[in-house]
Each structure stands twice: as structure tokens, then as C-alpha cells.
Symmetry: C2
Subunit: 311 residues, 2 copies
């Protein structure tokens, strides 16, 4: 369904801001609690929490993250799941979200209904309360930015910092071909996996793979080291080349550093008992790199670079 309607019928301008906000509350149903815990006041009010708080924001933009071929319910699901993947990458649990919607007044009400239904189903599945947001007009655009709040689930949040030279590098699932396969909107955020990994003391650092392994790995690489990958072990989605697995991005898998003295067979056995259908693959290690204090140099510079003209 194309998100913009050619004629005046079914356009959001026919119901206006007040009508749209009332409709959004209806579409979200019990995924949106009553005000002030949900939509309807100047701020949403959440109870105190004795855990560390996590906050992340990611948008979906028409023409960039989705087009008219992606079902609107999948766009709504993707918007939340992109952010859930960031909470998963810290080993956290999601709590609540707000959405800033910027849209042309010709946007179809039916498109928005399906979008919000997809968002609400995903929110219920993961225990996220959709507590508020904002609706504003942006000529020619259709953009939804979701801010997700979460909290730590144990004594630590797992950050990107903490890997050391000698640590193993591991990744969940399979990489590459996300756009062509539809994985970019069908994926399952690795929340349970992230919480499990955060409780294992041998995991030293973690992040999610969103721009492609080759680019994202730099953020996990400790100073004075480089990532030495055994390229034959990089788990690829069926039919994908190595270049696709390294550079396509939108994988939403977890990438972690495992302490060099870890008992790898014991860790992988425990993983397989807990997550029997999802591989956790060791793909290389961080090695000392006396000549460099910067990013890894063993990988081709690929991965998705935003805001650049296409090469």
C-alpha cells in the first residue's frame, strides 16, 4: 500500500490532528495505558525503577527504511524492533516507548492504522507500553522516530567497551542479504539472547550488527588491537556472498567479545541448550597490533555509510 493517497478521501487531513490522535489511541488499544501513564497529558508518567535506565532512539523513513512494497504493519513492527535490538545489545529489558510522527497531510489513514496495529502487536509481544508521542505535519515526508526506554536486568549492562586483545569474537545467527530476504523487517530482536549473554561473566563487550559486520566491528575493537577474522567461519544467510555478510547491514544480530581464557566449548554447550535453533559462532579474535592504536585494519572498509552519495 502506498502511504500517500492520491485523492482527498482517506487522507489524514480529513480527520485532522485531533481525529488522528483519537484514532491512534483506538488502534493501539491496551498497548497504550490510560493517561498519565499513556497518551493524554503533557508527559507520560512511569513508576520509579531501581535498575539502571537505558534509552535509545531510531526512526523509520519512507524512501530510506521502507517503501510502498513493505506492508505498513511490518513498518510499525520494524520501528520498534530496531530499537529493541539496541536494548538487547546491552542485555536489557524494554519498558516503554514514545513515537514522534512527522507526516504529509496526504498520508492514508488506512496506512497509519495498519502501521499502528503492527506497532501495537510487537509492543504487546515484548511487554512495551506505548506511552505517548507527538504528531506533526512535514510536507512530503513520512517519518516515525521511536524512543525506547529500558532497564538493566542484572548487575551490569554490557557496553561496547571492555574487549581486550586476545578475546574471541562471536556473532549470533547468520549475516547478509537482509533487504533481499525481507529479514530487515521480519527479524526477531535478540532480547532473551542479550540478557543471557549479559549474565555470563566471560562476555566482555557486546553490540548489535546494524550497519554491517565490517563497519560495526570497529566499535568493539580495543585500542592497540585489530580484529582478525577467520572469514570462512562468518555465518552467512543462504545464498549470500562473504561481501554481503560483511557489508549489507540490517542484520540485527548480536556481536560480542568473549574473554580469552573462557571455556568456549562449555559456553557454546550452554548456549545450545538454551537457544537450540540459533547459532552462536566464533568468527575470530582481537589480536595485538603494535603498529596501530586505531580501528581494525584486517577488514575491507565496507558497511553502510549514511549521508554519502552512493559509490
Amino acid at each position: 500500500m502506498h502511504p500517500f493517497a492520491p485523492g482527498p478521501r482517506d487522507r489524514v487531513e480529513a480527520i485532522g490532528e485531533g481525529g488522528l490522535i483519537a484514532a491512534i489511541r483506538r488502534w493501539l488499544g491496551n498497548a497504550c495505558p490510560p493517561a498519565p501513564a499513556g497518551i493524554g497529558d503533557d508527559c507520560a508518567v512511569l513508576p520509579p525503577s531501581r535498575h539502571q535506565q537505558l534509552i535509545t532512539v531510531d526512526p523509520v523513513i519512507f524512501g530510506r527504511h521502507f517503501d510502498a512494497a513493505v506492508p505498513p504493519a511490518a513498518v510499525g513492527a520494524k520501528l520498534l524492533k530496531r530499537n529493541l535490538s539496541d536494548i538487547a545489545a546491552m542485555g536489557g529489558r524494554p519498558r516503554a516507548a514514545v513515537v514522534s510522527l512527522c507526516l504529509d497531510r496526504s498520508t492514508r489513514v488506512r496506512w497509519l492504522r495498519e502501521f499502528h496495529r503492527g506497532l501495537a502487536i510487537t509492543a504487546r509481544r515484548h511487554g512495551v507500553a506505548l506511552v505517548g508521542g507527538d504528531v506533526a505535519e512535514a510536507p512530503g515526508a513520512l517519518i516515525a522516530s521511536l524512543t525506547l526506554l529500558g532497564e538493566s536486568t542484572g548487575t551490569r549492562v554490557l557496553t561496547r567497551q571492555g574487549a581486550r586483545p586476545g578475546d574471541w569474537i562471536a556473532v549470533t545467527g547468520r549475516l547478509g542479504g537482509s533487504l533481499a530476504s525481507g529479514h530487515h523487517h521480519r527479524f526477531t530482536p535478540r532480547l532473551a539472547e542479550g540478557r543471557w549473554l549479559a549474565r555470563r561473566p566471560e562476555i566482555r563487550a557486546m553490540m548489535d550488527v546494524s550497519d554491517g559486520l565490517a563497519k560495526d566491528l570497529a566499535a568493539l575493537t580495543p585500542r592497540g588491537a585489530r580484529a582478525a577474522l577467520d572469514l570462512g567461519t562468518v555465518p552467512r544467510r543462504r545464498g549470500c556472498t562473504l561481501a554481503a555478510a560483511l557489508g549489507d547491514g540490517e542484520d540485527y544480530e548480536l556481536l560480542c567479545a568473549i574473554g580469552s581464557r573462557a571455556d568456549l566449548p562449555a559456553l557454546q554447550g550452554a548456549w545450545r541448550r538454551r537457544f537450540p535453533t540459533l547459532p552462536l559462532t566464533v568468527i575470530g579474535k582481537f589480536v595485538r597490533n603494535p603498529g596501530s592504536r586505531t580501528a581494525p585494519d584486517s577488514l575491507p572498509a565496507s558497511g553502510y555509510e549514511h549521508l554519502r552519495p552512493a559509490p
Copy 2:
């Protein structure tokens, strides 16, 4: 300064996403703490809080909330202040913010630098940590959505619900002419005033005036009542008509309901001692309306309605 550059020099596409994020960290300076408390990890991490948490989101959109005539530093300041006004309206204290930036690749780097400087100055002034965000390409657009987290400062947050028939209606400051006077980006969010009012037990409900008094007042009006205003008392900005004061919007003043048995002279005396230069004006009261269980009917239906064609 026009935010889009005509030639390739000084465009954001010349530095790319990585260059822009590095520049943003530099521009924000100490308004952005080191990761994971600030930019640089999958989520930002905030310490636990024993207070109720507040969350709100509002964007600024080129062509809607600002144009090339508004200095970019004022746009950055306005983005944060719009959200601070929502925290003020609950009697809260701001904590931290994330920004989702959606922009055309022809956006001027210089415009973005001034925008972030204005944002950072305002953040420091109000004790807000700018902890993260996202940068994405949106052809033809320049939109920044800011999500602000805050917390309650006393035993209660002051919501829009709670007014009763018989309660007085009061407003801070002066209304109308916000766009023409530049108030829409020069205003001071009423944070200290909101906290003060939330600690006074005679204040029963509160909100900020953003779409215009006539429209916003409906949200404060209790069921079975209507707002009866003494229109001559509505405090107007110099040179403004009553219609402008009721309908222009973007006032960012506080509107509250005062219990019918309150000692008004004592309240106003205490207010004047604490805030000697800002008026708190009683402009009417909520009266029983046996014929109606809906919104107030004593006001003309005006105020800014988004997403509608101009009348």
C-alpha cells in the same frame, strides 16, 4: 541562514554520517557525557531514580516550526525548550534527552553546528544531559525530534486531570503574538514556576499552553463543567487582540486549576514574592454545566489545529 547549501561545499554529505556524529560530540562538548552515559553505545545508560519518571517528545520541522529567518542556535534552543515546557507542566525536573535528526544530505554543516551549540547552551542552563540520538537521511527534510526524560520533584506530578467545577482558572505570563514577537523561540520554560505550583496543595491540575488557550483549556476542563472566562482579564502580550491571546498558540505558559476554597490573595502574595516579575492571573472558573458532559462551550472554537488545510 538557510539550512540547505546550494553547492557541494559545507554540505553534510561531504563529511558523512561518521564525520557528522564526531562533529556533534564536539559541538555538544560537556553537555554530552562520555559513553555509555552519553553518545557512543547502543543505548545511553542513566542511573536508577527513586522518583516517578516523566517522558515527552516534540520535534522542530523546517517549514513548520522554523524557517531560514530563525537563527539555527535559536532552533536548537527551541527544540529543547518545547519539551522542557512539558516537564514544567507536570512540576518536574528534566534529566536527559536524545535527539533523532532526519536531514537532507545538502544540509549545511555550519547550520548544524550553530543548531547544536544552541541546544547545548540550553541543556547546560537547565541541567539536561544530551545522552544520545540518531542521524538519518530524509530527502528534502530537516527535522529534529527530541525526547526528554525528567522526574517528579515532590510527592506528586501535576496532571491535566483533577480540576473540579468551581475551581479557579489561572495562567502565567502573557498570551498571544508568539510568532510575530519571536517569543516562540525566545521564551523561558516555566520550570521553577511549575515546581512551585506542584508543591501548592490548592493547585489541582496543570498543563502548558502550546496550541492556544481556547483549544488547550478543553483538556483541563472537568466533566460536567465548562470554562467561564472573564475575557477582560486574559493577560495579553503588548499589541495583541483577545483573539490572538486565545488562539495564536506557542505561548509556553502554564495554565492551572486552583481549588475553589483556596485563599487566592495568600496564593498570589506568595507567588509575587517568589516570582516578582511574572504575573499569575486568575482568568475565570470552571462552572457546572448540567446540559453538557463534554468540552467547554463558552469559548469560540479556535486555536491551532494541525494537519488541516488552512481555513
